[in-house]
Symmetry: C2
């Protein structure tokens, strides 16, 4: 494999010294970029874009070409590829987000679900990973990812996005053994999926637990964290002679950082509700922290964005163990020039914290 020219991101995840704080943005290849919208128009639907390795590679590289400050690429894909490969029929309705043709509600529905085999069922994803890795040619590391079992289950049981999560929580409270069976199948599928991404060239992986934060303290441990623990335990942790760091991101989990750090992951993603300095005092000896600017700050003027970056850098303080990011994905209506101001602020202001 080609030598990595910029390993700042991987080094910070392993708490090794860096010259400045590395940065990437969740959803950095996305609708806020005109070049993305052009590729999307050429490809057809959103899933056409994900399933064609050349298009997936093209859009993955777009933000890196536009913003030289970015320190990592992330595979362009959808979090719902696994439920789709379980034959639930993923589709997208304009303005309504993802939907499934088949909804999972009963014990029989869960029993009928296969554990996904990535090699046979999701080869388009691994093909995209190896294509992107080749095209990157060592520029920056490539991040693989998956949704968490709990987060995938919410879409499968609700049949799409949800505001109140009532069907999935009714299953969880009324039929916990059925829910555990579903989560177990998903965890096994995710382990296989992420390991296949690592073997195809992903140099770090992130588990997106977008909806873990809607659970109670106790339910989070039993129905979300337990299965992320299982995944962390089942992953290939070293590949190509290098450690493969694992990042856990549960949105809304500011109260639960200690137990997340105890899984043995390398880093935690933080949303913007947590003060990153306080988080460092709580778990910074164990894990690297990734985050955590409110994506809405990107609607502000560049000077204000720069102030917010300065404030987060100061809150984290000196030394390695911080990967700069937003606290959630970048929004579609953000001006790309504001994203530029954000990235440049991190590039310019962070070296002072790494002397």
């Amino acid at each position: 494999m080609t030598e990595l020219k910029n390993d700042r991101f991987l080094r910070a995840l392993l708490k090794q010294p860096v010259d400045r704080t590395p940065i990437w943005m969740m959803r950095q290849a996305g609708r806020y970029l005109p070049e993305y919208r052009a590729s999307r128009a050429n490809a057809g639907s959103f899933m056409d874009l994900c399933m064609n390795h050349e298009f997936a590679c093209e859009v993955t590289l777009q933000p890196l070409d536009r913003y030289p400050g970015l320190d990592a690429a992330i595979l362009f894909s959808d979090i719902l590829t696994i439920p789709d490969a379980m034959n639930l029929g993923l589709y997208f309705e304009t303005g309504e987000g993802p939907k499934f043709k088949k909804i999972v509600r009963t014990e029989a529905d869960v029993a009928a679900l296969p554990v996904v085999n990535t090699a046979s069922d999701l080869s388009y994803v691994t093909k995209a990973v190896s294509t992107i890795r080749q095209e990157l040619n060592g520029r920056v590391p490539l991040i693989g990812f998956s949704g968490s079992p709990w987060t995938l289950a919410t879409y499968m049981v609700e049949g799409g996005s949800s505001k109140d999560f009532r069907h999935v929580k009714a299953m969880m409270y009324n039929q916990p053994e059925v829910m555990h069976e579903l989560l177990n199948k998903l965890a096994l599928s995710v382990i296989d999926y992420l390991n296949a991404q690592i073997q195809a060239g992903a140099q770090a992986v992130q588990i997106f637990d977008t909806w873990g934060g809607v659970l109670s303290h106790a339910a989070y441990q039993e129905f979300s964290l337990k299965y992320m623990q299982k995944i962390v335990d089942g992953l290939i942790r070293e590949h190509e002679g290098r450690k493969v760091p694992v990042i856990l991101f549960t949105k809304g989990a500011g109260q639960w950082l200690e137990m997340m750090a105890d899984t043995g992951c390398d880093a935690l993603g933080l949303d913007w509700t947590t003060d990153i300095g306080a988080a460092r005092r709580r778990v910074g000896d164990q894990v690297t922290l990734q985050g955590n600017m409110d994506p809405n700050v990107l609607y502000a003027q560049p000077e204000r964005i720069r102030e917010e970056v300065a404030s987060i850098l100061a809150s984290y303080g000196e030394g390695t163990g911080h990967v700069f990011n937003l606290g959630h994905g970048i929004h579609q209506f953000v001006d790309p020039e504001h994203a530029k101001a954000f990235i440049e602020a991190v590039v310019e202001l962070s070296p002072a914290y790494h002397k």
Copy 2:
């Protein structure tokens, strides 16, 4: 005034001994009750129901008649009465929630807003309070309420409900002085509004900060908590020879309980993401805790609901200072028999913690 026959709720808010844990439910007068739906059909629109003191009184009392275990009534009204009284033209579109005809986006928009005078602009609310208080005839105490300034501002600037809060946050980050002017007008209006409710007969008040939890740690302090502090400082704290307790409820504020308790309020509402025992260890010497069962537990079977009640009671532990509630409003699709099982479980299981 008539003597209060059941003051368990007020006593627990002031950390005085009680025979069992008091209970009420946020949104207890609401769409899950068939008798509410009948009243609503008779009244016309939702706002017709709020603005007619006889209908507002009728629906306020319905859950008390159905569930003898309830220890408090809460004024039936909407949180958006204040922006409506600022001439923004509140209306409801089926399935879409509240909307405003006039949206507040600029410095001039904010400058044009009046501070609301409850006596002249919202007399229908104080009339409802005094009618309900009279009809209650001392059965249980009556809770008055208002939305928090930040929460009201989100609806006024977005023009209704929001998923990403981008307009209100753009104003907050780009024009903080305009946002402060708006929040200040709202805080002055809320002080007048809650004091008028207290003078009309409300025996406790709750401030609903439904959207404070979408802010960063620093922005929460500057744009939400600061104005709730101003309200706490401006409220009538004693009336009819009795203390009038103030409850602050910010959804998603589990990380911020200490600073909320420092406002001098009497109680904090907790959502279900916080372990109530851990919260008690953090702030239980200062304030009473209200909550905090996930409203989705009410979709489970009665035995499972009872288990969850038992678990929350055990987590809080012995002694006063706990008001049982849901962690947010009861959902419209809940079976009223499940709400009954919930209330009865608190009534039956909690005396063991107050010996």
